[in-house]
């Protein structure tokens, strides 16, 4: 009956990112990568805090945030379940966007850029593109 949950959270206390945000972000990441699918159960607050030694209210706050964004829903007495996925096809290996990015990355490397340079460039473009869009 107690089917194990599909994700496990890693909390980095030194990251400066609020703990509940780390849970939100890691859940979204798992949704994007297809590790979590609709119908999957998120770990209970008890399971999360037992493994991470963080305050249970933090987990509940993160789950409320995910619920507010319509990604999960709480079913009383059963747990919190994924209702939809994020980014959908973008995550799949053969998606055109991914192929284009892979192609671009290869060209950047051929042009003599180091891994860190590519990463910095990508982040800079990413930031300017999504500037002022949203937080968290």
């Amino acid at each position: 009956m107690a089917e194990s949950a599909a994700v496990e959270y890693r909390i980095d206390r030194r990251s400066g990112v609020a703990t509940y945000l780390q849970i939100v972000q890691q859940t979204k990441q798992a949704l994007r990568l297809g590790l979590l699918e609709p119908g999957d159960r998120l770990p209970t607050a008890r399971e999360v805090v037992e493994a991470t030694a963080i305050n249970p209210n933090t987990v509940l706050k993160a789950y409320r945030e995910l619920e507010r964004e319509g990604l999960v829903e709480a079913r009383r007495g059963l747990g919190t379940f994924v209702t939809r996925t994020l980014g959908g096809a973008a995550a799949a290996d053969d998606a055109p966007l991914r192929a284009e990015l892979a192609d671009w990355t290869r060209r950047a490397r051929a042009a003599g850029l180091e891994k860190d340079d590519v990463s910095a460039l990508f982040t800079a473009v990413l930031d300017s593109t999504f500037e002022g869009d949203q937080t968290g």
Binding site: I11, R13, E50, T52, A53, V59
Partner: protein, 298 residues
């Protein structure tokens, strides 16, 4: 969830003999039920005295403290307390200690919880032969086996290695998640509590300096960096200057002039250290932490 786990009004404790004076004076605060509260402060600040009063071991010299809605003595069956020195009967074995827990708490004892916390402690070993960390684990097993509504822990993790500390803290949080247990943990090691506690009581010099939800307390303060000039109308907690640069931790009164100041939310550690370094800074209790009529400044 709306009730108070602990409510102190004008609480004071004076120890007799050798001019030891007041360990705690004029303490008024409220801890709502269901919180995980950090009781922080330097050594000798009165943390242990406050916990001993709440546990009903001491009779206050003045004022009152109510626990779970009654005097501490009557709430005994519903609360657990683990003192700093982890008192256990040295001549009993681990198993016998858990058995004693069952005998002394017939109404609430949960052997399974106790066994889970006790983990791989050698069951036939006598308490006197256990290491400090093992004793801590056993003391916590006894406290959690009782399934308390309120759990008071005085420096609980001091002699644990990082792995055991993480595991026990996880077990504590799981208990809090499952049963909405109110937990009060005293410590002078701040990193032990960050991320764990959602409520804060800063005790210093026998008084409560800060009390309330950690988030609210952090949000009420701002770390200002800018030119050396008056920070009015904000209340300064601590201000330091280096050359032409001033860094001040203030309690905001209205909006911060961002043309002059660079503003940032302080970390928990910055907030606590600033208050400890500035004993004259006024106390701050958020509305949920203010006891009865004795509402302190905001």
């Amino acid at each position: 969830m709306t009730g108070a786990a602990i409510e102190a009004t004008g609480l004071g404790m004076k120890y007799r003999g050798r001019g030891r004076g007041w360990a705690l004076r004029d303490c008024s605060f409220r801890l709502p039920a269901g919180r995980v509260c950090a009781l922080v402060g330097p050594n000798g600040a009165g943390k242990s005295t406050l916990l001993a009063l709440a546990a009903g071991f001491l009779r206050p010299s003045e004022g009152t403290v109510r626990v779970l809605g009654s005097v501490p003595g009557q709430a005994r069956a519903r609360m657990a307390f683990v003192a700093q020195d982890k008192p256990l009967y040295p001549q009993l074995t681990v198993d016998a200690t858990l058995w004693a827990g069952a005998e002394l708490n017939p109404a609430t004892w949960d052997q399974e919880t106790a066994e889970r916390i006790a983990g791989d402690l050698p069951r036939d070993a006598r308490v006197r032969d256990l290491s400090g960390g093992q004793r801590t684990r056993l003391a916590l097993a006894l406290a959690l086996g009782k399934r308390p509504e309120l759990l008071l822990l005085d420096e609980p993790m001091a002699d644990l290695d990082p792995l055991s500390r993480h595991r026990l803290m996880g077990a504590l949080m799981a208990e809090a998640a499952e049963r909405s247990t109110t937990i009060v943990m005293s410590s002078h090691i701040l990193t032990e509590l960050e991320g764990v506690c959602d409520y804060l009581l800063l005790v210093d010099g026998g008084r409560v300096r800060l009390g309330g939800e950690t988030e609210d307390l952090l949000a009420a303060h701002t770390l200002l960096t800018g030119p050396v000039q008056d920070t009015a109308p904000h209340t300064v907690v601590e201000s330091r200057t280096a050359g032409r640069l001033q860094t001040a931790l203030v309690r905001r009164q209205g909006a911060v002039d961002t043309d002059v100041w660079e503003a940032a939310e302080p970390s928990l550690e910055e907030l606590l250290l600033a208050h400890l370094r500035s004993p004259e800074a006024p106390a701050l209790l958020t509305p949920s932490a203010a006891a009865g009529q004795a509402v302190a400044t905001v």
